[in-house]
């Protein structure tokens, strides 16, 4: 059995330890906000935070998570990162970022991680932090604008 934490709750995982965190979240814990897009850490739709680090859940086996803290798009709103998360959400809505929306929880989790460690990201910082997150709708320009807008609102707060 592997014990870890999901959004503050204790998870005791009994199924195959090679199960990727993505499928543990989606199929065992009913947390479907984290999305499957490629299964190879190529698209970022499955981005969650593990011990605070943005992590691709599709290539993270549950066996590697013993004692670790996993935060998903469902849980980020009640963590210490909630102020950043709320600023990101407000900016995403204000800039009308989403289209189909499928990649957006991954984009949002990546953006929250970026703004947590870098309150004023440059364009190059945004490229570096966000280029692992594919959006086939091409919302990139508004993602960039929303990150800058969230950054500005956090500085004001």
């Amino acid at each position: 059995m592997i014990k870890f934490f999901v959004n503050g709750d204790q998870a005791e995982f009994n199924a195959s330890p090679d199960t990727p965190l993505l499928w543990a979240l989606r199929d065992f814990y009913n947390l479907t906000g984290t999305k499957y897009g490629c299964g190879m850490s190529l698209c970022g739709a499955c981005t969650v935070h593990v011990n605070g680090e943005p992590t691709r859940a599709c290539v993270t086996p549950v066996s590697s998570l013993e004692g670790k803290r996993v935060v998903t798009i469902e849980g980020i709103w009640s963590t210490s990162r909630a102020p950043v998360a709320r600023a990101v959400k407000a900016a995403w809505i204000d800039k009308d970022v989403v289209q189909c929306g499928y990649c957006q929880s991954g984009q949002v989790m990546a953006a929250i991680a970026l703004l947590t460690r870098n309150a004023s990201p440059s364009d190059a910082d945004i490229d570096a932090a966000m280029s692992g997150n594919i959006c086939r709708c091409g919302t990139y320009q508004r993602v960039r604008e929303a990150i800058k807008s969230a950054s500005a609102s956090l500085k004001k707060a």
Binding site: D9, D18, T32, L42, G101, G138
Partner: protein, 718 residues
């Protein structure tokens, strides 16, 4: 501390029907005649008669959206259209995706579908009428209650106001209004009175998509649901000769292995077990007749075929004119197979019960998919309920005349006798077929002594998307599939002695429409050739287009807007160049100017200035988003997109070898809307075609070499 359950949960997700049952339904408006159901009416059936609107007792307005939402913003645009006439409080507007139902048929195409950039224009009169009917009934209900004439009341922001300060909310009036007959004739507002249409309006589905609570097809949960992965033949047209399932059975969680017409399905209680089960499956494939199929060979043959006479799609006044040209330009173009690769891999959930079935799928083709499901399951269409789920992109892939993955899910559910969600992995999606076809164009242009176009002979070679489908009889006339020739045979340019020939060569590779359909290749050819003519005749590319578009005011307006806003002709930093392209598709016109540089062999697109005429603009924020989207999508294909087939097998498999645009490669997109007409035209697709030729023309300006093969990044430079 709470403990999480550690086994697959058996909780229902709130499906569309569960949500419907949970709302207070006090107002139910049939769109075309008939009477409204009463407030006490039983929970409406999953397929309700012609219903686009509900008003709750709390004043909540729910607009039933008949089109698939897969990014293009119909969950905001369609409610805007209806609510313009309803005069409700926009803050209280919600959306719900319509299930499959005849009442949700496309007003022009006669079936329920999303495609052809038509969601807004085909709904425009329909939904304004529904909104006006409902408003009229609410006003009548208030007038009846106050015993005044309807002319003495007016509607405003979700209230009806009457003489002496009387005021009732739509929620308070909904019951009484629901008992009134639906008025046949209602007057619609003149555009000058619009409060919503034309105003930048934020999407109403943002919050749920930002916080992860939006439910896509992939997120459907049912009791006892199995996930099924299908092992498909690695060659098109192959089949499983024999299989060994010994190792599959040892994978914990695997419950069934069933053979179906498209391969072998492995079912498990969760995805990972199904995946491991499929990996453990040993299948001896009979490769079938296409084991040596090669896209390179196909391309070679198409290039040969292009030199021979084909079926005439556009007849020249004088086919011999080219022989007397002072100068002749000859160019061959190739474009590859392309996968759609929507972010959400394909999936479909089916639950078969005694005498019926329920299906959950993000479908662009509800009518077709429902009929195919019924046929596969041996049921009557009325025994099947199809819930439309949010889809994570589609680009045409979810509008398949043969309903491939829906039929697959139905076959599995029927054989395994359990509720099943079939999930295609990304590899299945890239390798599993249904591509934008590979095409070859051969163009010969004759110029007279002054450099004017004197003749244009154009041959297109490639598959027909609609061959062997129900759409063939509808669309193909005299052997010409207009989805192959659109953008060439109907070019708005005045080109004397233009002849277009089509060679329809169908191949074993499954093909399908792909965002912008034929325009995805024809615009590239036309617009790079026009540039080439400009070069050959010493004219500026914009000036030549102006000449050839003389008498086409809509085209000229968009062309001039793009040229002026992009600073066409002004100096650029060294190493940077501009290219322009303009294309009419889906009754809209889009021109784009791309600013490009080369970093080593890598193409860098810095900026795209887009000018767009899509008629009456319903939501400028969405139109801007759709152009950004179309440019990103078109650029992915123009720079990187290519599916190749070797020894019968698709060589690509995932985003590492089927590259798509990333944020660091996204140009700055500037959108300028040209004042349009009084009706909306297409928005979702017309921004795709111009970007490839605009970039290719900028590359020529940089390098002096013509790029005539897509993708551009594969072309060696220098």
């Amino acid at each position: 501390m709470r403990k999480l359950a550690s086994q697959p949960r058996r909780h229902f997700l709130k499906s569309a029907s569960a949500l419907t049952g949970g709302l207070v339904i006090s107002f139910w408006l049939p769109g075309g005649g008939g009477r409204m159901a009463f407030a006490q009416a039983p929970t409406p059936p999953a397929v309700a008669p012609n219903a686009f609107l509900r008003i709750g007792k709390d004043g909540t307005v729910t607009v039933i959206v008949k089109h698939l939402e897969f990014g293009q913003g119909v969950t905001t645009a369609l409610p805007m259209i209806l609510c313009e006439e309803l005069e409700c409080d926009w803050g209280k507007v919600r959306y719900e995706l319509a299930p499959a139902g005849a009442q949700y048929a496309h007003t022009a195409f006669g079936m329920q579908m999303t495609g052809g950039s038509s969601s807004v224009w085909n709904s425009y009169d329909q939904l304004r009428t529904v909104g006006a009917q409902a408003r009229t009934m609410l006003m009548q209900a208030a007038a009846d209650q106050w015993k005044v004439k309807p002319a003495e009341v007016r509607a405003e922001k979700g209230f009806v106001l009457g003489p002496g300060g009387k005021k009732l909310s739509y929620g308070q009036l909904a019951d009484a209004a629901g008992k009134l007959p639906v008025p046949d004739k209602v007057a619609l507002k003149p555009a000058k009175d619009f409060k919503l249409i034309g105003k930048p309006t934020r999407r109403i589905d943002s919050a749920e998509k930002v916080d992860g609570s939006a439910r896509f097809g992939m997120d459907v949960k049912r009791n006892d649901l199995r996930t099924a992965l299908v092992a498909h033949s690695p060659t098109f047209g192959g089949h499983a000769k024999s299989m060994n399932t010994e190792k599959v059975k040892t994978v914990p969680g695997v419950t069934h292995v069933v053979q179906i017409s498209t391969g072998v399905a492995v079912l498990a209680t969760h995805f990972w077990a199904a995946k491991k089960g499929r990996d453990a499956l040993e299948v001896d494939w009979e490769p079938g007749p296409n084991a040596s199929l090669s896209s390179a060979e196909m391309k070679r043959q198409f290039l040969e075929t292009a030199k021979t006479p084909g079926k005439v799609a556009k007849q020249s006044e004088n086919p011999e004119a080219i022989k007397s040209a002072a100068k002749t330009l000859v160019a061959e173009y190739t474009v590859p197979f392309l996968a759609h690769a929507p972010m959400e891999p394909l999936n479909c959930t089916v639950e078969v019960r005694e005498g019926g079935a329920e299906i959950w799928v993000g479908s662009q083709f509800q009518s077709v998919d429902l009929a195919a499901a019924a046929r596969t399951l041996g049921l009557k269409p009325e025994q099947v309920t199809l819930h439309t789920m949010l889809a994570g992109g589609g680009f045409g892939r979810r509008a398949n005349p043969v309903s491939d993955y829906v039929v697959e899910a139905c076959e599995i559910a029927q054989r395994a006798k359990v509720p099943v969600k079939v999930v295609w992995t990304r590899e299945d999606d890239i390798r599993g077929g249904f591509y934008r076809p590979l095409y070859v164009h051969r163009v010969e242009v004759g110029l007279d002594a002054k450099g004017n176009v004197a003749a244009w002979n154009h041959a297109i070679v490639g598959p027909s998307i609609v061959a062997n489908t129900a759409f063939e009889a509808m669309l193909v006339k005299d052997g010409i599939d207009p989805t192959t020739t659109e953008g060439v045979a109907d070019t708005p340019y005045t080109l004397p002695n233009m002849q277009v020939m089509l060679h329809t060569v169908n191949t074993p590779v499954p093909v399908l429409w792909w965002r912008s359909v034929g325009n995805s290749h024809t615009a590239f050819v036309m617009e790079t050739m026009i540039d080439e003519i400009a070069g050959a005749s010493g004219k500026d590319p914009v000036a030549l287009r102006r000449e050839l578009l003389s008498g086409k005011p809509r085209m000229l307006q968009v062309l001039n807007l793009a040229a002026s806003k992009s600073g066409w002709g002004s100096a650029l930093p060294k190493g940077r160049a501009r290219g322009i392209a303009i294309h009419e598709s889906f009754n809209s016109v889009c021109a784009q100017v791309a600013e490009v540089s080369l970093e080593g062999n890598d193409i860098r697109v810095h900026k795209v200035t887009a000018a767009f005429d899509c008629g009456l603009v319903v939501n400028p924020l969405t139109v801007e988003a759709q152009l950004q989207s179309a440019i990103a999508f078109g650029l992915s294909a123009a720079l990187f997109g290519e599916i190749t087939i070797k020894d019968g097998r698709v060589e690509q498999s995932n985003f590492h070898d089927y590259r798509v645009l990333r944020i660091n490669e996204m140009p700055k997109v500037e959108v300028h809307l040209a004042p349009g007409g009084d009706k909306p035209t297409g928005v979702g697709e017309p921004g795709v075609p111009p970007v490839a030729p605009a970039v290719a023309n900028a590359l020529f300006a940089l390098t002096g070499k013509r790029a005539r093969d897509l993708p551009l990044a594969a072309t060696k430079r220098g």
